[in-house]
C-alpha cells in the first residue's frame, strides 16, 4: 500500500458533489429509441411489459374489428384504450432509453479516448532495442511496447522499465498527471492515456476489446448488463403477480357470463375492459422502470467516478455490513504533522528545537515541512541560510534524514534507526527517551527521535491527521448497522488510540495481507458482507475475497483485476459513497414495487363497478370516486396507469433520497411515502383525469 501518496488526501467534501452527468439524450433520440424498442424481441425480455404489449395488440385488433361494425364495445372506446396501452408501452421504453442515454453519452466520451494509434513494438524488452510500428488493434497480450513522451498508451499493460508522467484525464477526468513506473504499486497503465514526459516500456496485459476501457464502455452502455440477483428475484415476484392478475381477469369472463345467465341478463363484460383491468392491475409501474433503475444505479456510480464491473457488485454494496478501511488515505490524511517537541533529560529545549528544524529544513516531505512550521509557530525559529551544509536525504537503508554542518551530524528518524546511529558512535540511548517513544505511540502518534552526533536531543511527536467529518460518517454508518474496521500497519497501541479518535468500531493492527484475508473470511463465515478498498498487488487476494472490492485506479493491474469496482479518483473514502449508491438502488426498487402494488386498490374501485354495473346495477355503490361513467372510469384508470410511469421516471433515474438512519426509521418513512401515498395517489389521480375527460365523452 502506498501510504504517503498525495492522491489520498482528497478532501472529504468532494464526495458530496459528484461530477454532473456529462450529457443526456435529446428528446428526438429518446422517442426514436422508444419506438425501436417495440420489437417483440426486446419486449419479450420484460414479462410484465410484454403482457401490456400483447394487450395493446389485441385491443388494436378489436378496434379494427369494431371498425367493420361488429365491435364488442363502442369503437371510440376501444380505440382510446388501445392508444393508451400503446402509450404505456412506449413510456416504459422511453424510460429505459433515457437511462441508457446517460450511459451512452459517458461511453461516447470514453470511446473518443480509444483512438486507433500506432504502437512501437520492441523486438526485445529493453528500452534501447529496435522497434517497429504496429496498429493498436493488432496488439496482443504479452507484447512489449515502448511509449515515449507524446505517445498514447496503446493498450492496458504493466510498466516493466522506466518511469513517466501520464495524463489519465481521458479516463478519470482528473487533469493532473500521475507517475507510472516499473515495480511497486504504480506500474499499471491504461490504454488510451497519454505519456507526457520521459518513456516507459510496457508489457501488454489485455487484448483489444478486452481492455479496461472496453469493459467500461460495455458496462456504461448497458450492453453487458445482466440482471442482478435481487432483480431476478423481483422479476419472479412481478411475473407471479402478473400471472395472478391474468388468472383473475381471464376467469372474470366466465364468471360474468354465468352471472348474467343466472340473472337473466345478456350483456357481459367486454374483452377490452378485461384487458384494461389486467393492465391496470399488473405491476406495470415497477415493471416499466425496473431496468431503468438498474442502469441509473450504474450511471450514478459512474458519476461518482466509480466503475463497477457488474450490477451485482452495486447491489452487494447495499448489503454490506462490514467496511474494512485502510487507515491511511481513508481515515487519516496521507501525511502526518508534527505536534510537539519533547526534550530528552538535560537537553536545552531551544537547542533541541533548533536541531530538529535544521534536520528538517532540507526535508521537502509534508512531515518535514510540518516540523519547520511548528518550530516557527511555537518557538519563533525562522528558516535560515544553510550555506556550507550537506543535506542527508531519507533513504530506505538508513531510515534517517538530516543535515551535516561541519562536524555536526544532525539526524532524525525512527527510534531504532537513531539508536543504531548513536550507539554506532558509542553514544547512549537514554531510558527516558524510550519511555517517551512508547508514550507517543500509545497516544496514536509516530515518534521521530532527533540526535546530534552521539547525543540524543529529544523526540518529535508526529500525529496522524484524522480527516475532517470522518467521525460523523462513521457514526452514520453505525446507525445504519454497518461496522467499520480500521486496517493499519501501525502497532496495536498507536492503532487503538487512533481508532478511538476516529470513531471506528474495530481495528486490525500490524496487518499483513494474510491477516486481512483471514479477517474477511471470518466475517463472511458469520454471514456478513465485507467491503474494502485496495491498490497494491498484495491486496489482490483480499480484494478477490471481499464481497465489494474497490480497487484504486492508481493501483496495480492485479488489484484492479481482483476488485469488482475501480475508483477512477483513487479516493479510498469513496467506499462510503459506493455503499450509499447501492442502498439507494435497492430502495428505489422497493419503493416503486410498493407503490405499484398499492396503486391497485383504487383501480379496482374504478374498474370493477364499471365492468359489471350492466349485470348488477347496485354495484354502482362501489364507485366511491363518483366517476362520470363506466367508459370514463376505465379510461381514466388506464390513462393514470400510463402517466404514473412518466411521473416516476425522475425518481427511477435519481433514486430515492437516502438518509443514514436505522432500518426501522427508513422503513416507516418510505412506507408512509410510497405505501400510503401509493394507496391515496391513484384515487386523486383517477378522479382528476375523469373530471378532465368527462366533458368530452
Amino acid at each position: 500500500m502506498s501510504s504517503l501518496n498525495d492522491r489520498s488526501s482528497a478532501p472529504l467534501e468532494d464526495l458530496d458533489n459528484p461530477l454532473p452527468a456529462r450529457t443526456s439524450m435529446s428528446w428526438p433520440t429518446v422517442t426514436v429509441e422508444a419506438f425501436r424498442k417495440l420489437s417483440p424481441r426486446v419486449q419479450w425480455k420484460n414479462p410484465v411489459m410484454f403482457v401490456v404489449y400483447l394487450g395493446s395488440i389485441v385491443t388494436s385488433l378489436l378496434w379494427v374489428q369494431a371498425l367493420t361494425g361488429e365491435g364488442e364495445a363502442p369503437t371510440g372506446f376501444i380505440f382510446a384504450i388501445a392508444i393508451w396501452l400503446w402509450f404505456t408501452v412506449l413510456f416504459a421504453n422511453a424510460a429505459e432509453a433515457m437511462a441508457e442515454g446517460r450511459g451512452k453519452a459517458q461511453a461516447a466520451a470514453l470511446r473518443a479516448a480509444r483512438k486507433r494509434v500506432f504502437a512501437k513494438q520492441l523486438s526485445e524488452p529493453r528500452h534501447d532495442a529496435s522497434w517497429k510500428p504496429v496498429p493498436s488493434d493488432e496488439i496482443r497480450t504479452g507484447m512489449v511496447v515502448l511509449v515515449e513522451a507524446g505517445d498514447i498508451v496503446p493498450a492496458d499493460g504493466e510498466v516493466i522499465d522506466g518511469a513517466a508522467s501520464v495524463d489519465e484525464s481521458a479516463i478519470t477526468g482528473e487533469s493532473a498527471p500521475v507517475i507510472r513506473e516499473s515495480g511497486g504499486d504504480f506500474s499499471a497503465v491504461t490504454g488510451g492515456t497519454k505519456v507526457l514526459s520521459d518513456w516507459i516500456v510496457v508489457r501488454i496485459t489485455a487484448n483489444p476489446g478486452e481492455a479496461f476501457l472496453d469493459r467500461m464502455i460495455a458496462m456504461v452502455e448497458g450492453a453487458k448488463r445482466g440482471k442482478t440477483p435481487n432483480e431476478v428475484a423481483l422479476t419472479i415476484l412481478l411475473v407471479a403477480l402478473t400471472l395472478i392478475f391474468l388468472l383473475v381477469c381471464v376467469t372474470l369472463m366466465p364468471f360474468s357470463m354465468f352471472s348474467a345467465a343466472l340473472n337473466g341478463e345478456s350483456q357481459i363484460v367486454s374483452v377490452t375492459v378485461l384487458i384494461a383491468l389486467l393492465v391496470c392491475l399488473i405491476p406495470t409501474t415497477i415493471g416499466a422502470l425496473l431496468s431503468a433503475v438498474g442502469i441509473a444505479g450504474m450511471s450514478r456510480m459512474m458519476q461518482a467516478n466509480v466503475l463497477a464491473t457488474s450490477g451485482r457488485a452495486i447491489e452487494a454494496a447495499g448489503d454490506v455490513d462490514v467496511l474494512l478501511l485502510d487507515k491511511t488515505g481513508t481515515i487519516t490524511l496521507g501525511t502526518r504533522e508534527a505536534a510537539a517537541f519533547l526534550p530528552a533529560a538535560g537537553v536545552d529545549e531551544r537547542a533541541r528545537v533548533d536541531a530538529a528544524q535544521l534536520a528538517s529544513l532540507a526535508d521537502e516531505t509534508p512531515e518535514g515541512r510540518s516540523i519547520v512550521v511548528l518550530a516557527k509557530q511555537r518557538y519563533g525559529l525562522r528558516g535560515r541560510d544553510l550555506a556550507g551544509s550537506h543535506p542527508v536525504p531519507f533513504s530506505a537503508h538508513t531510515r534517517m534524514s538530516g543535515v551535516d554542518i561541519g562536524t555536526r551530524q544532525i539526524r532524525k528518524g525512527a527510534s531504532d534507526a537513531i539508536r543504531q546511529f548513536v550507539e554506532g558512535q558509542s553514544g547512549r540511548f537514554p531510558e527516558d527517551v524510550t519511555r517517551m517513544v512508547t508514550a507517543i505511540a500509545s497516544r496514536g502518534g509516530t515518534p521521530l527521535v532527533v540526535a546530534e552526533n552521539e547525543r540524543i536531543l529529544g523526540v518529535i511527536e508526529l500525529k496522524d491527521i484524522v480527516k475532517g467529518g470522518i467521525k460523523d460518517r462513521f457514526a452514520d454508518l453505525r446507525r445504519m448497522g454497518i461496522k467499520t474496521v480500521m486496517i493499519t500497519g501501525d502497532n496495536r497501541l498507536t492503532a487503538a488510540a487512533l481508532a478511538a479518535g476516529a470513531g471506528v468500531d474495530d481495528v486490525l493492527a500490524e496487518a499483513t495481507p494474510e491477516d486481512k484475508l483471514t479477517l474477511i473470511r471470518r466475517y463472511q463465515a458469520d454471514g456478513r458482507l465485507v467491503a474494502m478498498t485496495g491498490d497494491g498487488t498484495n491486496d489482490a487476494p483480499a480484494l478477490a475475497q471481499a464481497d465489494v472490492a474497490v480497487a484504486m485506479n492508481s493501483g496495480t493491474q492485479a488489484a484492479k483485476e481482483a476488485g469488482n469496482m475501480v475508483d477512477l479518483d483513487s479516493n479510498p473514502t469513496k467506499l462510503l459513497q459506493v455503499v450509499e449508491v447501492g442502498k439507494q438502488m435497492i430502495m428505489t426498487r422497493g419503493a416503486l414495487t410498493t407503490f405499484s402494488v398499492a396503486n391497485d386498490l383504487a383501480k379496482y374501485f374504478a374498474i370493477i363497478p364499471a365492468a359489471f354495473v350492466a349485470t348488477y346495477p347496485p354495484l354502482a355503490a362501489l364507485n366511491i370516486m363518483g366517476l362520470h361513467s363506466p367508459t370514463s372510469a376505465v379510461l381514466s384508470a388506464v390513462i393514470f396507469n400510463a402517466l404514473i410511469i412518466v411521473a416516476l421516471v425522475p425518481l427511477a433515474l435519481k433514486g430515492v433520497r437516502y438518509r443514514a438512519e436505522p432500518a426501522q426509521k427508513l422503513l416507516s418513512r418510505n412506507l408512509l411515502i410510497y405505501g400510503v401515498g401509493g394507496v391515496i395517489a391513484p384515487f386523486a389521480g383517477i378522479k382528476l383525469i375523469d373530471l378532465v375527460l368527462s366533458p368530452f365523452l
Partner: protein, 567 residues
C-alpha cells in the same frame, strides 16, 4: 351485547393461555433427543431409521408417498364397504368418484363431505377410514410444520429433521393424548361412543324411530383437534349428538384453535425468538378478531327486509335477535358467529349452523378467511402459509431499507421467491380456475339451489373450501356429481400439496444458508409494525386476487339485499 362480548373474551382468552401451554409441549416433543418405547417399536415395525437426517426432498417425499399410500387405503376400504361384515344397516360402497373425493378430502385434512355420514358410512368406515385419516392428516400437517420451522432455524445445514420421527411423535405424544382427554369430556357431556349402529325407540304414534349412533365422541375429538371438520352426521356440529351442550361447543372451538395457534409459540421456542412467535400469533389474532366483528355485526343486525316488515330482531332477554335463519337457538348469534369464524379461520369446516343462511356479509367472512387461508389456518399448514406471506412481505417492503430482503437473517433470493410464489399462486389458480371451469360446465346450474349471485357464491365457496382444505359447505350446492366430486377432489389435493411441498423446499433452501446477524441495519420482523404490515399484505394480496369474484358473489348480494332483493 355485553353477554356476547364476554363469551368472545372467554374463548379468546382461554385460547391464548393454551397457546403457551401447548406450544411449549410441542416444542419439547419436536426437539427431545430420545425415543419412547412405543415409538421405537413403531420404527422397528415400519423398518425406518429414526436417526436419519433428511433433506427437504427426502422429507417431502416421505410425506407425499406415505400420504399417497394412506389415501389409497382409504379409497379401497370405501369401495369395498358393501362387502365388509358387521354393518347391521348394510350400507353400500361409495361410487368411484365419491370414494376418490372422500379419500382425497380426508387425507388432505379437508373433510369435505359429498355424502351424508350416517346414511352412507358404516361404523367400521367411520373408524378405519374417517377417524384414521383425520388423525394422520393432522399429524402430517404438524410434522410438515416441524420440518419447516427447523429449516428456518438452522444455518448451513443440509437436513430439516426426520419425517417419520416427527409424524410418529406428533401422533403419539400430542394428538392421541389430547384426543383421549377431549373424547372423555365429550362422553361426559353426553356424546355417544358405541359400536352399536342405532338405538330404536318406540314412539307414541306407533312407528319405531331409528336413532343412528356410533363412535361419535372419538371422532369429534380428532375432528376438532386435527382441524378436520368432517361430521359423523350430515348435520355436523349442529347435530345434538355431535354438539350436545354449550360446553362442547366451546371445547370444539378451543380444540380447533389449539394447534394452529400453539405452533407460533412452538416456533418462538424452537428458534429462541419468542417475540417473533408472539408477533405471528398477533397477526393471526388481529385478522381473526376483524373477521369475527364482521360476522357478528352482520348477523346481529339481522335482515333489513324483515325489519321493514316489523319483525322484532332485537337482542333481548327472550331472544338473541339478529338473523336466526339456519342457526341453533341454543347457540344464538354469539356462539354461532364465533364458531363460524373459528371453523373457517382454522380451516376445520365443522359447522354448528348453515353457512348458506348467513347474511351476505356474514357469508363473505367464511369464504374470505378460506381464500386467505392463513387466519390461524389448519394444523401445521396455517403457520406455513403465514410464513409464506411473511416472506412475501419482507420481499415487498424490505427493499425499502436499502438491503436485499432478509427473513430471520436469511437472504431471500430468486430460488426462495420462485417457490414462495408457486405456493402463493397454487391457491388462487385452483379456486378461480376450477370455479371458472364449473360455471362453464354444462349442467352445473342444475346443482344449484339458488339463482343470482348466491348461486355463484355456492360454487365459489365449494372450490374455496376444497382448496383451502377447510371442508365446510355453503350447502345449497349438490356436489355429489362426478364432475364436482372429481374437480373438488383435485382442488383439495392441489391446495394441500402445491403449497406444502414448495414451502418445505423453501425451508430446505433457507436451512442451507448462512444467517446474517441482526442489527440496526436489518429489517426488524418481531415488531408491531411488521405484524401490521404482514396483515396488510395478506389482506391486499388476497383482496386483489379475489375481490372481483367476491364482487359478483357476496358483495353484490349484500347490495341487492339493501335494494330489497333476496336470493
Amino acid at each position: 351485547m355485553v353477554n356476547d362480548l364476554v363469551q368472545f373474551v372467554i374463548v379468546v382468552g382461554m385460547a391464548t393461555v393454551l397457546v403457551a401451554v401447548c406450544g411449549a409441549w410441542l416444542a419439547r416433543v419436536l426437539t427431545s433427543p430420545g425415543h419412547v418405547l412405543p415409538e421405537r417399536m413403531t420404527y422397528g415395525l415400519m423398518g425406518v431409521d429414526p436417526g436419519e437426517a433428511m433433506s427437504w426432498k427426502r422429507y417431502g417425499m416421505a410425506l407425499l408417498f406415505s400420504n399417497g399410500a394412506m389415501m389409497l387405503l382409504g379409497y379401497g376400504l370405501l369401495r369395498i364397504q358393501g362387502l365388509l361384515p358387521f354393518d347391521s344397516l348394510e350400507r353400500a360402497a361409495q361410487t368411484a368418484d365419491l370414494a376418490f373425493n372422500t379419500a382425497a378430502s380426508f387425507i388432505t385434512n379437508t373433510n369435505w363431505q359429498s355424502y351424508s355420514g350416517e346414511s352412507s358410512l358404516s361404523n367400521f368406515s367411520q373408524m378405519a377410514v374417517i377417524t384414521f385419516l383425520m388423525m394422520v392428516s393432522a399429524a402430517t400437517g404438524v410434522a410438515a410444520c416441524a420440518g419447516f420451522i427447523r429449516g428456518l432455524g438452522r444455518k448451513s445445514a443440509r437436513d430439516i429433521g426426520n419425517y417419520w420421527v416427527d409424524f410418529t411423535r406428533v401422533t403419539y405424544r400430542v394428538l392421541m393424548p389430547i384426543c383421549l382427554v377431549v373424547a372423555l369430556i365429550y362422553v361426559w357431556q353426553g356424546m355417544p361412543q358405541t359400536l352399536n349402529a342405532e338405538a330404536v325407540a318406540d314412539t307414541l304414534e306407533g312407528p319405531a324411530q331409528h336413532l343412528l349412533m356410533g363412535p361419535v365422541a372419538s371422532l369429534e375429538a380428532i375432528k376438532h383437534v386435527g382441524t378436520n371438520g368432517g361430521g359423523f352426521f350430515g348435520m355436523n356440529a349442529a347435530h345434538p349428538y355431535e354438539n350436545p351442550t354449550p360446553l362442547t361447543n366451546t371445547i370444539h372451538m378451543l380444540c380447533m384453535l389449539l394447534i394452529p395457534s400453539a405452533l407460533t409459540y412452538c416456533f418462538g421456542t424452537m428458534l429462541l425468538r419468542r417475540r417473533q412467535g408472539w408477533a405471528f400469533f398477533a397477526a393471526f389474532l388481529v385478522m381473526f378478531l376483524g373477521f369475527l366483528a364482521v360476522v357478528y355485526s352482520a348477523e346481529q343486525q339481522g335482515n333489513p327486509l324483515l325489519a321493514a316488515l316489523g319483525v322484532d330482531q332485537q337482542d333481548s332477554v327472550l331472544q338473541s335477535g339478529g338473523n336466526m335463519e339456519g342457526k341453533e337457538t341454543r347457540f344464538g348469534i354469539a356462539q354461532t358467529s364465533l364458531f363460524v369464524t373459528v371453523t373457517t379461520a382454522a380451516t376445520t369446516g365443522s359447522v354448528d349452523a348453515m353457512h348458506d343462511s348467513l347474511t351476505p356479509l356474514g357469508g363473505l367472512v367464511p369464504i374470505a378467511q378460506m381464500m386467505l387461508n392463513d387466519v390461524f389456518g389448519g394444523d401445521g399448514v396455517g403457520f406455513i402459509n403465514l410464513i409464506t406471506f411473511a416472506i412475501l412481505t419482507v420481499f415487498l417492503v424490505g427493499m425499502m431499507i436499502g438491503r436485499t430482503p432478509e427473513f430471520l437473517g436469511k437472504k431471500i433470493e430468486a430460488r426462495e421467491m420462485k417457490l414462495v410464489m408457486l405456493a402463493v399462486l397454487a391457491h388462487p389458480f385452483s379456486i378461480l380456475g376450477f370455479t371458472a371451469l364449473a360455471v362453464l360446465w354444462p349442467g352445473s346450474q342444475d346443482s344449484l339451489a339458488n339463482v343470482g349471485p348466491h348461486g355463484f357464491s355456492e360454487i365459489l365457496y365449494a372450490y374455496t373450501s376444497g382448496t383451502a382444505n377447510n371442508g365446510s359447505a355453503f350447502a345449497g350446492l349438490n356436489a355429489n356429481t362426478p364432475f364436482f366430486n372429481t374437480t373438488i377432489g383435485l382442488a383439495m389435493l392441489i391446495g394441500r400439496y402445491f403449497t406444502l411441498l414448495p414451502m418445505l423446499a423453501v425451508a430446505g433452501s433457507l436451512a442451507a444458508k448462512k444467517t446474517v446477524p441482526e442489527g440496526p441495519g436489518t429489517l426488524p420482523t418481531a415488531t408491531p409494525m411488521f405484524t401490521i404490515l404482514l396483515v396488510f399484505v395478506v389482506l391486499v394480496v388476497g383482496g386483489l386476487t379475489f375481490l372481483p369474484a367476491l364482487a359478483l358473489g357476496p358483495i353484490v348480494e349484500h347490495l341487492l339485499m339493501l335494494a330489497g332483493h333476496l336470493f
